[in-house]
């Protein structure tokens, strides 16, 4: 998995690429924007080809920590294979999910999160 961070105002876009499973999910916490619980992030999943429950758990854990610090985690651009994991587990209800990253950034800016 590769992680690319881009700042857009007060929001950081964290673009993930590759597979997020039990062998790669711990890498997510190496991202400075993810590790900084005070920082709101949009996590762009467009280039994630596969995600299992370990990847999902890492995202849920990130969401919990940031929400406790009053920061936001928004998800964007998930393909149907990734979306299915959220749908089956019901975790789709925990996240704000957007079809495109710019809409997620706009939402975060509008809601003054982070």
């Amino acid at each position: 998995m590769t992680i690319t961070e881009t700042s857009d105002g007060s929001i950081t876009i964290v673009a993930l690429c590759g597979t997020i499973d039990s062998s790669t999910a711990p890498e997510l916490h190496k991202s400075p924007a993810i590790a900084d619980t005070l920082r709101s992030v949009v996590i762009d999943l467009e280039k994630v080809d596969f995600l299992d429950s370990s990847g999902l758990g890492a995202l849920v854990g990130t969401l919990r920590l940031k929400q406790e610090a009053k920061a936001a985690v928004l998800l964007s651009c998930m393909n149907p294979r990734v979306r299915k994991v959220f749908d089956i587990t019901g975790t789709v209800k925990l996240f704000h999910i957007f079809d495109d990253t710019s809409a997620a950034v706009e939402y975060a800016a509008t809601h003054n999160e982070g």
């Binding site: 039990s22 062998s23 299992d52 429950s53 758990g57 969401l63 089956i88 587990t89 975790t91």
Partner: protein, 139 residues
């Protein structure tokens, strides 16, 4: 015609993707040999996901963590059905685990829920010191 493919992998988290990709490719192969809709990603994704979960669990709960400990995955292709069996020598366990409470933001506990949902059948037996999970899905 019945075809059997067996993969014995070290009980090591680094091999998770190899196991799940093998599952996806095997499912795609079955779909193509049955002249089924090979554009149907859900069949291959179901095995990719289920094997990723089962293999990860086998590694997570392994007690020895030695290179010699193996997780064995067998794919059996028969007519329009693919069956996957995953074996390990860990302690016995139950697959009848409660589903996680989403409102508590759990980071673990989704794996068996995913397996049960994407597969048609899932069973577990303990035999000769091995945990054996068998799952199958019809094309």
């Amino acid at each position: 015609m019945k075809s059997v493919i067996t993969l014995a992998l070290p009980c090591d988290i680094r091999f998770t993707r190899l196991a799940s990709q093998m599952a996806a490719n095997t499912a795609s192969l079955l779909a193509s040999t049955c002249n089924a809709d090979t554009g149907n990603w859900e069949f291959s994704h179901a095995f990719e996901l289920a094997i990723s979960e089962a293999f990860s669990n086998a590694v997570f709960y392994s007690t020895e963590k030695t290179a010699s400990q193996k997780v064995t995955i067998t794919f059996t292709l028969e007519q329009h059905r693919l069956m996957a069996t995953i074996r390990d020598t860990n302690e016995p366990f139950s697959i009848e685990t409660p589903e996680p409470s989403i409102e508590n933001y759990p980071e673990r506990g989704y794996g068996l829920m995913l397996i049960r949902t994407v597969m048609d059948t899932v069973s577990y037996i303990r035999e000769n010191g091995e945990n054996i999970i068998t799952m199958s899905k019809q094309l």
